[in-house]
Symmetry: C2
Subunit: 155 residues, 2 copies
Amino acid sequence: MTVEVQADEVLETLEEALVRSAYYVMGVLTRIGGEHDLSLSQLRVLGILRDRRLRMTDLAAHLGLDKSTMSGLVERAERRGLLARDKNPEDGRVVDVFATQAGHELMERMHVALRREMASALGRITPEAARELVRLLAPILEEAGKGIARPARGR
Amino acid sequence: MTVEVQADEVLETLEEALVRSAYYVMGVLTRIGGEHDLSLSQLRVLGILRDRRLRMTDLAAHLGLDKSTMSGLVERAERRGLLARDKNPEDGRVVDVFATQAGHELMERMHVALRREMASALGRITPEAARELVRLLAPILEEAGKGIARPARGR
DNA sequence: TATTGTTATACTCTATAACTATA
DNA sequence: TATAGTTATAGAGTATAACAATA
């Protein structure tokens, strides 16, 4: 009983630690994205398309957004020359999206900036602790990778 | 030399793990917030005001948002009866913001929902691992708590 | 003069509903 | 009929600039 209460408390603490670190990371991403006029969503789209080409629907599913939202996001990124659209040759309804050379280059710059920005926080961690953290975060990330997010109802 | 390269690689891996877990947590927060018509920003405002009362400027600083953005956020939450504004008696320019009873109750429901939603991910972690995770995340959270976020330039 | 907050404006982000084109 | 995507619409979230009130 006492053990369960303690276990509950430590989970509570962990939950708060994860939420706070998430806000921290999002803050960093928002800032470095903002320096290059990229919103969190645009940043994420570019990140997802770093190593693949996806149709609109799959992209929307990955982001947990409606396909109409996706159209706007891609449209604005395309206008800036970061993404491009191609009609899928096998299914006339499908539109494939992929990052352009400029998109890849911008993403690379974002990545470098992220490393730099997080250095002060991560620099204080020993390689052993980092390895341990990665190991302990694995089950959470596994859960994260499971269901592809779906858009929330209403507003 | 070899050791440094390895250290660099593990930091790279940790960075990716942190970013991915941040996206996961934000996804969960977005979903449970959305179920009660609360955006991430509204959720965060309510969370910050859970145990304190802040003036508009300080609230904006905590969130890393412009004060004009804050006005709109608070205005909408106030219209829903979740927050309230009071003129500060000591400085006529200042407006203090605080959560109403309804705001506190909604926040409590959000908290319960968050526990439930994250249970499947956190449930797979032993109490020992959870304690260790909290300990390892501490230096990052310390960094997070340092500078209060400021709004990004431009758009 | 400087600080605090609001308002006007212009975009981006978002979902819903209605639509077009393809299967 | 069903699926993929776009467009029209409405509203939230965001920053900049201009403003009013207070210090």
